[in-house]
Symmetry: C2
Subunit: 143 residues, 2 copies
Amino acid sequence: MSDPATTTPPLEAVIETAIYANDLNAAEQFYTTVLGLPKIGSEAGRHVFFRVGPASVFLVFNADSTLKGGHLPPHGARGSGHFAIGIPTASFDAWRDHLTACSVVIEKEMTWPLGGKSLYFRDPAGNSVELVTQGVWGLAAGW
Amino acid sequence: MSDPATTTPPLEAVIETAIYANDLNAAEQFYTTVLGLPKIGSEAGRHVFFRVGPASVFLVFNADSTLKGGHLPPHGARGSGHFAIGIPTASFDAWRDHLTACSVVIEKEMTWPLGGKSLYFRDPAGNSVELVTQGVWGLAAGW
């Protein structure tokens, strides 16, 4: 293998993030009404897909279906996945209020060493959802 | 619950994407040398974290550890997760060549209806990794 430092082509961002849920209808209801994500596609029993902002896609799959493969490589996991969506810092309190109004329990609230803040809660399948403001990671884009 | 269409606060992007691997050393070796991701943190036996471009964080966790929880909410999944990283369209052939030079088997290559292209392969834990060019989803940012 040649030296990866000099030969690795460029990467730009994570574009697709996937989690798994057995009840795709419950996932769709949650992610469209509680998080307000626009749905961009679905296949009954296999998946429901959402857009997050202008550059991210969020994929919810039924592992029983995707583990069978088909024309695409099989994948599928069981248990509680985790991901984080970025929110404007000024909307942090509004998000806490909105989740509470939607009867979503805030499992944890964190303030990080760089000043960013997180809200943790669960989707209907038990996945750990996190909303993060800027200032959590110290990335060049502010996150 | 009030009308989500009028009350849902804004979301900007998926910032953190997580997968699981029992062998974190193998994951670190793969993601740093094959994909060239800068490592931004680790805790032996629990996780190794990477940056992808200026605005994405990619998290590899050992589910045995994160399912125990601690000061953060527990999570952890078993099986083969899936995610996709965006690459410049002009680097598609270079990525195929690079992966092959790294002895990574290309499991599937796709051309999508909108013109975008994907390469699918596996990480050492069996997670389904996809590299995507612009023109797969029709997002405002081009992806």
